[in-house]
Symmetry: C2
């Protein structure tokens, strides 16, 4: 309850540019103007600090969320407190919306992986929009299909790639097809969360990262990654994948 009150204090006016971002999302882009107005006037800003829990698995889903900035971790937790991280999402993504097809219940928990600004929107409004408006239903189909495609890729990688290849793949998906020269990247969030996102324990991740640095020319210092040759990293990761770099879903 204290947590809820604290979150409430940090809710304020919704900035116009956040509504602009929201409108670009495939779910809202094809929506009739009057319907989008209903969503934008119902939207509330929610500010989370890194580590704040937003909702738990099996919570009733009164709201769904749009990420304005920051990172959100979606995860499932065993009774013993072990976490399976299903996804880590950043600005421009929505989450919690699929609860309307899951009996109104969140199938995963959500927490802020970094300081994060969200718009929260009423699930009841989305349910009614999908039921009433065909374009919204089609937008929702496109959105869920995209998530499903990504999950198929995740299952493939967990089945076939070794731990070093999974890290290489994660880094590679941050590169562009046009990257010919040396690439310098910043890891988007904590290494411990990257490990969890790739379904590894922290110790396994450290060992796999060392192996990756031994077997390729990449180097990692703190959160900075230097990739001298993207092609070399692709050769390392993609031979245990049904796709080739650049991944078709990122083009």
């Amino acid at each position: 309850m204290a947590e809820l009150l604290r979150l409430d204090e940090r809710r304020g006016a919704v900035p116009q540019d956040a509504l602009g971002l929201l409108h670009q999302h495939s779910l809202f882009a094809a929506m009739p103007t009057e319907m989008f107005m209903l969503f934008s006037s119902a939207a509330k800003k929610t500010v989370l600090n890194k580590g704040d829990q937003l909702f738990l698995q099996d919570d009733p889903a009164e709201w769904f969320y749009f990420i304005v900035s920051g990172w959100i971790k979606l995860f499932r937790e065993t009774i013993d407190g072990e976490e399976a991280v299903l996804d880590v999402l950043t600005s421009g993504h929505i989450f919690g919306e699929s609860a309307i097809f899951d009996g109104g219940i969140h199938m995963a928990a959500a927490a802020a992986a970094e300081n994060t600004v969200l718009l929260r929107l009423p699930t009841s409004l989305l349910k009614s929009a999908i039921t009433k408006n065909h374009e919204v239903a089609l937008g929702m189909l496109a959105s869920i299909s995209r998530q499903r495609r990504q999950q198929s890729q995740d299952i493939e990688k967990l089945s076939l790639q070794n731990t070093s290849q999974r890290i290489a793949c994660f880094l590679l998906r941050m590169c562009k097809a046009t990257d010919q020269q040396e690439v310098s990247l910043s890891l988007p969030y904590d290494k411990s969360l990257i490990a969890a996102r790739l379904s590894m324990k922290s110790e396994t991740f450290s060992r796999a990262l060392n192996k990756l640095q031994q077997e390729t020319s990449i180097s990692i210092k703190g959160s900075t990654v230097i990739i001298p040759a993207v092609g070399e990293l692709a050769a390392f990761a993609c031979n245990q994948c049904s796709q080739e770099f650049p991944c078709s879903d990122l083009q």
Copy 2:
């Protein structure tokens, strides 16, 4: 080509009870009668022998399929020929339909895991039905959401359960909540395919199965599994899962 001709020879009249089964699927149940008639008159029976390949990953999706009897394996394959099995489906399920949201391309290959009878249906008809009819779009949303929910569970299991627990979970999901006495099950398909469905190599599967038989009272001979106490198996598998037996999605 020889393969395609061979399949064609085994295509015959569509049995009425297969159309009855098709009509029960959530995608077709709420469809207007005239629209369902279009699908049922366009349906063609396809008979596959165990091992027959139906389509490859990245094939254009002219057809989607409804399983009348048998088992279909959906998988992705690396250049080296290693397979990640995404799902193994039986009668009453459709597959290949999501290609309409993936640029008209199959995102996974399909092959018969046992002798199988299918109905094949034109993807163009489904695409038009979803575009024109709101009920069909909602039926498709329910269907894709169900698949997505299952994939989330698969990712969770791959992240948190050990190999023996994954086998225990697979067996447990074949039991009923009301099973109090000793349960005798037949494995639904080959052990090598169960191993692949659980993202294990055959050797790993054998070791994990031995461990499961040492640590619980279950016994497996050939394809027959004896589970003396379902509760014991649940205690073994479910402490590394966010759900408890009986799984809510099976109720």
